[in-house]
């Protein structure tokens, strides 16, 4: 049975054909206003001549005006039916994903600082991260193969894209090197900051508490992927040599795009220890780099931010829950119940 918000519309005479009936309905004096519906038990000016009680059925020919509101209308009102009850620990786990992603962004920026200011070798971290990412993918494949049993073609494709990206980067790195040479460094830093900020805002964190299940959630952070790459290109264009550009962009791709993807897959495959291991290593690496490059003062700022994000924000989120007031009732869009048994 279909429930409608305007259950009170009826045709004036029984013999009127269907098109005319619908026309009459559109000509009804006015649609029922919300306050009409909410004012419970207000007597309508129309005298009820019929003894039959009002029924919320569109197809019946009842002797009620079009804007009639029955006193039983609000009896089906429900409040906060779909609101989930959050646990604080679960929320802390979810909010820690934000810190994880910001850490990965920070790692790239810090690595750039090292290469740009202190002439670090860009090759070693890239080689290390490449080896780690290949190892990580192999573990993921093994675990996925255990759980699902996928075909091998997918792996080949992944290897193909990996090699393709590497070669295109090699070809384009001389172009990338000279891309922003004539603009000043300050504007590049500002651009990079804006890109990082928008990246953290837009990124799809795929928290498990907002959706019922991680495995059913679709992970597609397309825009933030593109922004990460743009950020690394913009930063890389300040570097001095072609090899530095190539290695840095490759490193940035691995850290900002492949690492979150890897972490997401690990969480989806219920590899909780792996997730926390990666988390721990990354977080501490960032902490170490901040101390090394910027000093203890900045580490303190960073840790305060982390505590704020991981512990205070979930508490605030829980505090806000009591203001939630979600109404549901027969005026909502009707949902057809199919195979209700």
């Amino acid at each position: 049975m279909l429930e409608t918000s305007r259950g009170s519309s009826r045709s004036p005479t029984p013999d009127v054909p269907l098109e005319l009936r619908s026309r009459f309905r559109s000509l009804s004096p006015r649609p029922p206003f919300p306050h009409d519906l909410l004012s419970r038990g207000r007597s309508t000016p129309i005298i009820r001549r019929s003894q039959q009680p009002w029924k919320k059925l569109l197809f019946l020919n009842q002797r009620f005006p079009d804007n009639y509101t029955d006193s039983s209308f609000l009896s089906q009102l429900k409040r906060n039916t779909a609101v989930a009850n959050y646990s604080y620990v679960k929320l802390v786990q979810d909010f820690s994903l934000i810190v994880f992603y910001i850490s990965s962004l920070l790692l790239v920026v810090l690595m750039f600082t090292g290469i740009y200011l202190y002439q670090w070798s860009s090759m070693l971290p890239t080689l290390a991260s490449s080896v780690l990412s290949i190892l990580g993918f192999i573990t993921l494949r093994i675990s996925e193969g255990d759980s699902r049993g996928e075909s091998k073609t997918k792996e080949k494709l992944n290897m193909k894209s990996f090699i393709l990206i590497i070669f295109i980067l090699l070809i384009l790195s001389p172009v990338l090197k000279s891309l922003t040479k004539s603009s000043s460094s300050d504007s590049i830093w500002a651009l990079s900051f804006i890109l990082c900020l928008s990246n953290t805002i837009i990124y799809d964190y795929s928290m498990s508490s907002t959706t019922s299940d991680v495995s059913r959630h679709q992970y597609k952070p397309i825009i933030s992927t593109n922004i990460s790459l743009s950020n690394s290109i913009v930063l890389a264009s300040r570097l001095n040599s072609t090899s530095q550009v190539f290695f840095f962009v490759l490193f940035a791709i691995q850290m900002n795009i492949l690492l979150p993807l890897f972490d997401y897959n690990a969480r989806r495959n219920k590899l909780v220890t792996l997730h926390w291991l990666v988390y721990f290593v990354l977080f501490n690496l960032v902490n170490y780099l901040i101390t090394h490059l910027l000093g203890v003062k900045f580490l303190l700022y960073w840790l305060v931010c982390v505590i704020g994000i991981v512990f205070l924000m979930p508490a605030y989120f829980l505090f806000l829950q009591k203001y939630k007031n979600e109404l549901q009732g027969p005026w909502d869009i009707a949902k057809p119940v199919i195979n209700a048994n």
Binding site: S161, I168, L179, K181, S182, I233, V234, I253, I257
Partner: protein, 642 residues
């Protein structure tokens, strides 16, 4: 309905009223002869006696009869006038049951090509008379559903009837014929034998002249054909402005005999089928109605002749001025125009844009240098072709000889073509000399447009969308999902290229903007020269002069002015409304805008990277001069000449 409400219109020539008012004896009797058609009377002449034998008149004047009288004591005709010497107007005597409207008009002199016409004369056309708009279709539809009503056959005539208007226009002609027939012998008389000799002589001379003109026309047609030949899609008239002017001039000359005959020898148009046949053969843009055809052809012919004469006069003046300053002009062209502006200054501009941070904008140095080198290299090659070949490789003797030939060429151009040919030549020279600029403009436009298109589609990729060609809409991308055609590597590659292209865009745009501005200046210059050419070739000078001299000959319709009224009759003066300056000039003004145009949505074309060029509509000039489309059929008119 009472009979007294019926309205009679009497058309009374002005000069007859004057004759009446000049007579000494006030009660002198005059008889009016003229035509009667339903309720319309047209007075042709007044006579002192009513003893006129209408049988001696030629058959074309059969309808002529006595329609009324002035100061007649025993009236026996339709109209019974008296004459009021105070107001100098005739009035209807006695108690008449009708309303009279006396329309006084100056009889048009047919020898001066004067006449009354309801329709304004058409001197130029824009060639779009037959275009049916959507509105016309709607009107047609509306007429289709209109109920059919049968209108009763009208017993009233009006000035808008052709037969009434024709009689008014022929008043003077009929008077002469009447005078010739009744007693008063024609002033010019030939002895029969002399007349025959004269006729024979005239016929032979005419025959020779016609043959001469005809053969000249064949030569003209051949010339037009020659300059219009397509050689591998290369056409002299299409490419060169000098030949474009020559084409127009030859076609005008070719059409002159027809224009002359159409107003001079009316027998050409005597039969309707002749006219229809000729129309079809020549494929004229539009044709005036029979009444206006003589006059419009007369005006157009003499306007064209005068403009050509003017053109040649200006040309000879210009040639004299050029010859006086020949050396300085050549020097200016060589040193200042070609070497300084088209080469040195351009090189400086290009290097400024490519390397020296133009207007403070920091462009990409590598790309800028690459593009700048490319353009400068092309520029040097152009200079070698245009400048160095003549300057270095020719001996001084040969150079002087070349200059001499150039002078002779200019003389031929100015003396036989005129200023418009000289302007066409200047446009051609400009087009040849600035070919490198157009090349630069087209290439930078292509680069800009392609880059813009790639950036547009990659931007969709950047924000995770794609353009769906099959459904003509923008869809979501899903690179992270399994079993999708897009992989992450494609996404990354797209972003990589997108960033590179976006960051290189300002450099490309700077070059594009520079060439666009130069190109726009060039187009404006060419457009200005074309405008001068149009002024020289198409100004309706003769029409303006005719309006100043005798505005009756520019028929733009008729005017009725109220004079006075008496008890049962009203007096109205009918006169010609000449064409207003607005009507004369509308088509001429339109010619500037429509025959060539480059100003159509410049800003939009600039940003989207569409090429801007002058769009020519050369047909319009032929339409404006009302030249026939089939120029090779003009000789067929001689078939109709007797």
């Amino acid at each position: 309905m009472k009979k007294s409400m019926e309205n009679h219109q009497i058309y009374f020539p002005n000069d007859l009223i004057r004759t009446c008012s000049k007579t000494k004896t006030r009660s002198k009797t005059w008889y009016l002869i003229g035509f009667k058609q339903n309720n319309v009377y047209v007075v042709v002449q007044i006579l002192e006696s009513n003893t006129i034998d209408f049988k001696t008149l030629p058959s074309t004047l059969k309808e002529l009869r006595i329609i009324g009288s002035i100061n007649d004591e025993s009236p026996k005709y339709d109209l019974n006038f008296g004459f009021n010497f105070e107001s100098k107007l005739p009035f209807i005597r006695g108690d008449s049951n009708f309303n009279y409207c006396i329309i006084i008009f100056q009889p048009p002199n047919f020898k001066n090509l004067e006449y009354f016409s309801i329709e304004p004369i058409l001197l130029q056309s824009m060639g779009n008379e037959n275009v049916s708009t959507a509105k016309d279709d709607l009107v047609k539809k509306l007429v289709g559903v209109e109920p059919v009503t049968t209108t009763p056959i009208s017993t009233e005539s009006f000035i808008s009837d052709d037969s009434v208007l024709e009689k008014i226009n022929q008043v003077v002609k009929i008077r002469i014929e009447v005078r010739n027939c009744i007693g008063e012998s024609p002033s010019v008389s030939f002895h029969p034998s002399h007349y025959a000799i004269y006729q024979n002589f005239r016929r032979t001379i005419l025959g020779i002249v016609i043959q001469l003109i005809r053969s000249l026309q064949y030569v003209l047609i051949f010339l037009i054909w020659v300059i219009n030949i397509d050689i591998f899609k290369f056409n002299l008239v299409e490419t060169s402005k000098v030949f474009r002017s020559l084409d127009l001039r030859l076609k005008q000359l070719n059409y002159f005999p027809i224009q002359f005959l159409l107003y001079y020898e009316k027998s050409v148009l005597s039969k309707d089928d002749n006219q229809a046949e000729m129309l079809k053969e020549l494929h004229l843009p539009i044709f005036n109605s029979s009444l206006n055809i003589n006059n419009s052809n007369y005006i157009n012919l003499y306007n064209s002749l005068w403009l050509i004469f003017n053109d040649i006069l200006y040309g000879t003046t210009a040639y004299k001025i050029i010859m006086d300053n020949f050396d300085s002009i050549i020097n200016f062209l060589h040193k200042t125009f070609i070497q300084k502006y088209l080469f040195n200054e351009l090189i400086e501009l290009i290097s400024w844009v490519s390397l020296k941070h133009p207007a403070g904008f920091k462009l990409n140095n590598e790309l800028g240098q690459f593009m700048g080198d490319l353009f400068i290299w092309t520029l040097k090659f152009w200079k070698f072709l245009v400048n160095d070949v003549i300057e270095l490789n020719l001996t001084p003797h040969l150079q002087i000889k070349l200059l001499h030939y150039f002078k002779i060429f200019l003389m031929i151009l100015c003396y036989f073509g005129g200023l418009s040919f000289l302007l066409g030549f200047i446009i051609d020279i400009l087009n040849i000399l600035t070919v490198h600029i157009s090349f630069f403009y087209y290439s930078s436009t292509k680069v800009y447009k392609k880059q813009l298109e790639v950036i547009k589609s990659l931007f969709q990729l950047f924000r995770g969308k794609k353009y769906n060609v099959l459904r003509n809409r923008i869809d979501n991308l899903n690179n992270y999902e399994d079993s999708n055609e897009f992989e992450i590597d494609q996404l990354l590659l797209g972003t990589l290229l997108f960033m590179v292209l976006v960051l290189l865009m300002p450099t490309v745009f700077a070059f594009y903007l520079m060439y666009f501005l130069i190109w726009l200046t060039l187009l404006a210059t060419l457009n200005f020269l074309e405008n001068v050419q149009i002024i020289v070739n198409f100004t309706p000078l003769f029409v303006i002069l005719l309006k100043l001299k005798n505005s009756n000959r520019l028929q733009g319709g008729i005017n009725f002015n109220y004079i006075t009224n008496s008890e049962n009759s009203s007096y109205v003066r009918m006169c010609n409304k000449s064409l207003s300056y607005n009507e004369i000039f509308t088509n001429f003004i339109q010619l500037f805008r429509n025959s060539k145009n480059f100003r159509k949505s410049i800003i939009q074309n600039f940003f989207t990277g569409q090429e801007i060029s002058i769009k020519y509509n050369n047909e319009l000039k032929f339409h404006y001069l009302m030249l026939p489309a089939n120029y090779d059929k003009t000789t067929s008119i001689w078939k109709h000449v007797k």
